[in-house]
C-alpha cells in the first residue's frame, strides 16, 4: 500500500470506528475521543485494531494509537509532555477541558481519535512503503 492519502485513510477509519461502536458515521468527528465520547472499552479497541489490521494489511499497536504520527517514549515525562503539547496544538477541537493538564499513562487511551489513528496509519504505511522500495 503506497502513498495512501490521509483523507482516504481517515474516511476508512471513520467507517471502521462507526461500525465497531454501532454509531452513525456522521457522529464520528476526527477529534471525537473514542473512549470519552463513545464509551469504547478495551474489547472495542481489540475489535477496532483487528479491523484496521485487516483493512490496511499491517500490524497496528494499540498502545501507540493515541500519539498519532509521533514517536514517543511514554516512560520519559518530557517526551510524553511534548507529545501531548503537540496534540493540543494540532487537535484544537478535542475536548481538552475534560482532559488532565498533566496526564498519567492511563489517561492516554482517552486521546485516541479517528484523527490520531489516521495520522498513525498514514505515517506507518508511508514508512513501510519506503522500506520496501
Amino acid at each position: 500500500m503506497t502513498d495512501v492519502a490521509l483523507h482516504d485513510i481517515q474516511s476508512r477509519v471513520t467507517e471502521i470506528v462507526a461500525d465497531a461502536l454501532d454509531i452513525a458515521p456522521d457522529e464520528v468527528q476526527p477529534h471525537s475521543s473514542l473512549l470519552d465520547d463513545f464509551g469504547a472499552e478495551s474489547i472495542d479497541f481489540i475489535d477496532i485494531v483487528f479491523r484496521l489490521e485487516n483493512t490496511f494489511d499491517t500490524v497496528v499497536p494499540t498502545d501507540e494509537l493515541w500519539a498519532g504520527a509521533q514517536d514517543v517514549d511514554t516512560n520519559d515525562p518530557d517526551s510524553l509532555a511534548r507529545a501531548v503539547a503537540h496534540l493540543r496544538a494540532t487537535m484544537p477541537d478535542f475536548a481538552w477541558d475534560r482532559f488532565p493538564t498533566t496526564p498519567a499513562k492511563r489517561d492516554l487511551p482517552r486521546l485516541i481519535t479517528v484523527g490520531t489513528i489516521a495520522a498513525y496509519l498514514h505515517n506507518h504505511l508511508a514508512s513501510e512503503a519506503a522500506a520496501k522500495r
Binding site: 461502536l21 474489547i43 472495542d44 481489540i46 475489535d47
Partner: protein, 380 residues
C-alpha cells in the same frame, strides 16, 4: 426437590409458579404466535440468512421481523450478542414486564437459560481458515498464525454458550444467580425445572428461565443432513430460531405482590439413556400427585426412534392418552427453545382453566426432561 434422598415434593417445599411469559418466534411475540398457531399458519420459508438451497431441507423458521435494538441499553453491546442471545434479551425483557416486574425488582433476580450452543459463527471460521494452499492445517504453527490473524477477536465472546444468560442479566439488571444449561434440545425445558429448584433451595425468589436458540446455521444444516434428519418427508425436521422465557417465582412472593399467576410447576424430572422419557414423565406425574393430564406438549419428536419411545411411554402411563399439542410443524424446531415455546403457547391458550399440562422434551442420547404444570391460579 428437597435433597438427594427424597426427590419427591414434600409439604414444606415452597410452591413454585410462573408469573410471566414471553416468546419470540417467526410469527413475532407470544400473542402473535398464538394467533398464527391457532390459525394453523406455517412460518416455514426458504432460509434467507444463508444459501440453504443445496440441502435436502432448504426451509427454516427465521425471526425476520425481530429487532433486538430496543432491548439493548447500549447499541454496541449487540456486536457481542449472536442471534440466540438477542432473542433471549428481547424475550427476557418482555417476560419480566409481563410478570408486572420492573427495573426496581431486578436486583435479586436470577437468570437460567438453556441453549444448544451450536452457533460457531461458521462463516467467520471458514473465512479465517480459507483455502489451505499455503500450508498444512495440521501444522499447529500455521493453524495458529492463520487463526490469530484472521479470526475476529470477538469470535469467542459471541460463541460462549453462557452469553445469553449474561446479556439478559446485564440488560435486565438481574444480579442474582446466573447460569446456563447446554443439554442441547432439552436445555430450555430443563432450565425452567432447575430454576424451580433454585427457588425451592432459597437461591432466589424470582428467576428468568427458559430457552433461546438459533438453528439457522449452515454448519448445523450440514450436520443434520449428514445425520439423516432431513430424510423423513412425512414428519419434516425444519430448523428454526426463537426464544421463550418465563418468570419463575415462589408462590407466596408472587401473592404478596399481587402477581397474576399463569400456572404452578408441580413436577419436574430429567434423565438420559434407555427409557428416559418414560422415567421423567413418571417422576413428573408422581410429584404432581395425580396422573390426570389434560394436555401433553411435545417437542423434538422428529427423530422416529424418539417419537416411538414417547408413544410407548404415554400408552404405559395413561389408560386414555391425553390430547397432544405440538407447534413445531408450523414454527420449525427452535432447538433448545422448542419446548419452552410450546409451553408458552399452551399456557397462553389455557389462561382461564386449571388444566394439567405435561411438557416433554427429548434429545440426543435419549436425554429427556418432563415438566408438569397446572395452569391458572393455584388453589389454597
Amino acid at each position: 426437590m428437597s435433597g438427594l434422598g427424597s426427590p419427591e415434593l414434600s409439604s414444606e417445599t415452597p410452591r413454585i409458579v410462573l408469573t410471566g411469559s414471553a416468546a419470540v418466534t417467526p410469527f413475532g411475540n407470544l400473542e402473535q404466535s398464538l394467533e398464527a398457531v391457532r390459525a394453523r399458519r406455517s412460518a416455514l420459508e426458504p432460509v434467507r440468512t444463508f444459501d440453504a438451497s443445496s440441502f435436502k431441507e432448504s426451509r427454516g423458521g427465521e425471526c425476520h421481523d425481530f429487532d433486538a435494538r430496543p432491548w439493548f441499553r447500549i447499541p454496541k453491546s449487540m456486536k457481542l450478542a449472536d442471534q440466540r442471545t438477542r432473542l433471549a434479551v428481547g424475550a427476557a425483557a418482555m417476560a419480566f414486564s409481563s410478570a408486572g416486574l420492573g427495573e426496581d425488582d431486578a436486583a435479586g433476580a436470577g437468570v437460567l437459560i438453556g441453549t444448544s450452543a451450536h452457533d460457531m459463527q461458521g462463516i467467520d471460521v471458514g473465512r479465517a481458515l480459507g483455502p489451505m494452499s499455503d500450508g498444512d492445517v495440521n501444522d499447529i504453527d500455521h493453524f495458529g498464525a492463520r487463526i490469530l490473524r484472521k479470526l475476529p477477536p470477538l469470535w469467542l465472546l459471541l460463541n460462549l454458550p453462557n452469553m445469553a444468560s449474561a446479556h439478559v442479566a446485564i440488560e435486565l439488571g438481574a444480579r442474582g444467580p446466573n447460569s446456563t444449561i447446554t443439554t442441547d434440545w432439552i436445555a430450555g425445558l430443563q432450565a425452567i425445572g432447575e430454576a424451580a429448584r433454585w427457588i425451592a433451595d432459597g437461591e432466589a425468589e424470582v428467576v428468568v428461565a427458559g430457552g433461546a436458540d438459533c438453528g439457522i446455521l449452515p454448519l448445523l444444516y450440514a450436520t443434520l443432513e449428514e445425520e439423516g434428519y432431513f430424510e423423513d418427508s412425512a414428519s419434516p425436521f425444519v430448523p428454526a430460531e426463537g426464544a421463550a422465557l418465563f418468570v419463575v417465582e415462589e408462590l407466596e412472593h408472587a401473592r404478596r405482590r399481587g402477581a397474576r399467576i399463569l400456572g404452578e410447576i408441580t413436577g419436574y424430572s430429567s434423565a438420559a439413556a434407555d427409557g428416559a422419557i418414560a422415567r421423567t414423565m413418571n417422576a413428573a406425574m408422581r410429584q404432581n400427585g395425580s396422573s390426570h393430564v389434560d394436555l401433553v406438549c411435545d417437542a423434538a419428536l422428529f427423530a422416529r426412534e424418539y417419537r416411538e419411545e414417547e408413544e410407548r411411554a404415554i400408552r404405559d402411563l395413561f389408560a386414555t392418552p391425553p390430547p397432544r399439542f405440538e407447534c413445531n410443524s408450523l414454527l420449525g424446531f427452535a432447538m433448545a427453545a422448542a419446548a419452552p415455546i410450546a409451553l408458552a403457547l399452551a399456557l397462553a391458550g389455557n389462561t382461564a382453566q386449571r388444566r394439567t399440562i405435561l411438557v416433554n422434551s427429548l434429545g440426543a442420547m435419549q436425554q429427556a426432561a418432563s415438566l408438569a404444570i397446572i395452569s391458572g391460579e393455584p388453589q389454597a
